[in-house]
């Protein structure tokens, strides 16, 4: 591992970031997101992460992305988001600060990126140290014959938090699904409304309140009335669009009225 890094570092020193990018590209699926890729790229600088050149790193990353594009490799969107941000950071670092412009300076942004990389690296090191510790069941052991055998039978009921949450999820999801499966009778779809109205508008020679077009059985229950009102109104608009009827409303919240349009 260390040797690989060394070789990779050497190559970059000799040739260019572009080649390094090419070497990495082979492994593009092996990266756990843009920060991981940046961390790998940063190793080629061979300096303490606190002294890293973020500008150089940004250039390496952008070269990587360019190279991936040239090879027509599909990069996940978050890699491209990071590329855009790094391009922005690069311009901030290179150009003299514009006093009129708000927001953090390029140095602040670079410092935060360096902090993130250092923190991620620290967590990786910690994870490795943790997994390398003496572990129960591998390096040290618990009692092989625990003596908590049942002599006096006292029943103790147990449940884990997972059981509890799954139980709750079970009840909640049952409710969630009920509407999809069972409450369809409370729904009057726009297709149904349109079909119903097409049959009825022939008789609408005078202005008629569209609420009178609600189907039987959909006027008393509030959920059903709401659904039928919405679909009937939507269907009326559709009919206006088709040039078959006219709509009018005297004022806000007044009844909406409909009349057949004679060609």
């Amino acid at each position: 591992m260390a040797e690989d890094d060394f070789d990779q570092g050497e190559a970059v020193m000799k040739v260019a970031d572009r080649l390094a990018a090419e070497a990495l590209i082979v492994d593009v699926d092996g990266f756990e997101g843009p920060l991981d890729l940046l961390l790998t790229l940063s190793r080629t600088q061979k300096v303490d992460l606190r002294k890293i050149s973020v500008l150089q790193l940004a250039q390496q990353y952008l070269a990587f992305v360019e190279r991936a594009k040239a090879l027509r490799l599909e990069l996940a969107a978050d890699y491209l988001v990071m590329a855009a941000w790094l391009a922005f950071l690069k311009s901030r670092l290179l150009l003299p600060p514009d006093p009129a412009e708000d927001g953090p300076s390029g140095e602040e942004m670079a410092a935060h990126l360096a902090f993130q990389l250092e923190r991620l690296q620290a967590m990786r090191d910690c994870a490795a140290r943790l997994m390398g510790r003496d572990r129960l069941g591998r390096d040290f052991f618990a009692r092989g014959i625990p003596e908590d055998v049942m002599r006096r039978r006292k029943v103790h009921y147990s449940a884990t938090l997972l059981d509890l949450m799954q139980g709750y999820a079970r009840i909640r999801t049952r409710d969630e699904f009920r509407p999809y499966v069972m409450d369809r009778d409370a729904i009057f779809t726009m297709e149904q409304a349109l079909e119903r109205m097409r049959g009825l508008i022939g008789f609408a020679g005078t202005w008629t309140d569209i609420s009178s077009y609600l189907p039987d059985g959909f006027t008393t229950d509030s959920a059903r009335r709401r659904s039928a009102t919405a679909s009937t109104f939507a269907a009326s608009l559709e009919l206006v669009k088709e040039g078959r009827v006219e709509l009018r409303q005297a004022e806000t919240f007044a009844p909406i009225e409909l009349r057949r349009r004679d060609e």
Partner: protein, 203 residues
């Protein structure tokens, strides 16, 4: 010899079955003498809370017989809580203080007296304040024992619906074919169910 004594001490402690001196010798580095180490180890544990006991022609560590009374509380049989009890408990935890009628409404089935009694006996739930509604029904709330058992600091730390989903606990999907199709009025349904659900999850 001190090192060999350590070895057999560790093996006898961790082994799931009694070990013969031959078993021990097989595991130990070549040239060790478990029989002799055993003599030392037995001596060391004389009069202690644990002793090295002979079981057939093998050896095992056992608690001293005079301390058996200390083990009596560990002789418990652990059983899984029934599904009804878990669901009832979950509803109390998430909706407390909650009346029996409310639990039944949420579960969609009646709650047996035994279930509530069991949870009360386990001291995971207790009676809360009476509700100021007709009949002044009693309510149920969860106890400190409940929080301790489930490793929670307060009932407010129970994960919500969104987090249950994120943890992969809401896997149920409606059976295929019952999913609303685009343009079939699916949007209407969704917006109608949403407020009611949120309500239940208000902190």
């Amino acid at each position: 010899m001190a090192e060999q004594e350590r070895m057999i001490e560790a093996m006898l402690f961790a082994s799931a079955a009694p070990l013969s001196t031959r078993d021990m010798a097989e595991r130990m580095p070549h040239g060790c003498d478990p029989a002799e180490a055993l003599v030392h180890l037995r001596k060391r544990y004389e009069g202690r809370g644990v002793r090295v006991a002979k079981v057939g022609d093998a050896w095992a560590m056992r608690t001293a017989p005079d301390l058996g009374y200390l083990m009596s509380r560990e002789t418990v049989e652990t059983r899984k809580l029934s599904r009804a009890a878990i669901e009832t408990l979950a509803i109390i935890a998430y909706h407390q203080p909650v009346t029996r009628a409310e639990i039944e409404e949420i579960r969609g089935v009646s709650v047996s007296r035994g279930t509530v009694d069991q949870l009360l006996e386990m001291e995971w739930i207790r009676f809360g304040r009476r509700k100021m509604t007709p009949g002044r029904p009693v309510t149920f709330v969860v106890t400190q024992e409940f929080l301790d058992h489930f490793g929670l600091e307060s009932a407010r730390d129970l994960p919500g619906l969104k987090e249950l989903r994120a943890a992969g606990l809401l896997e149920n999907r409606p059976p295929p074919g019952t999913m609303p199709q685009p343009g079939e009025g699916g949007d209407v349904e969704e917006s109608e169910t949403a407020p009611g659900q949120n309500e239940l999850f208000e902190d």
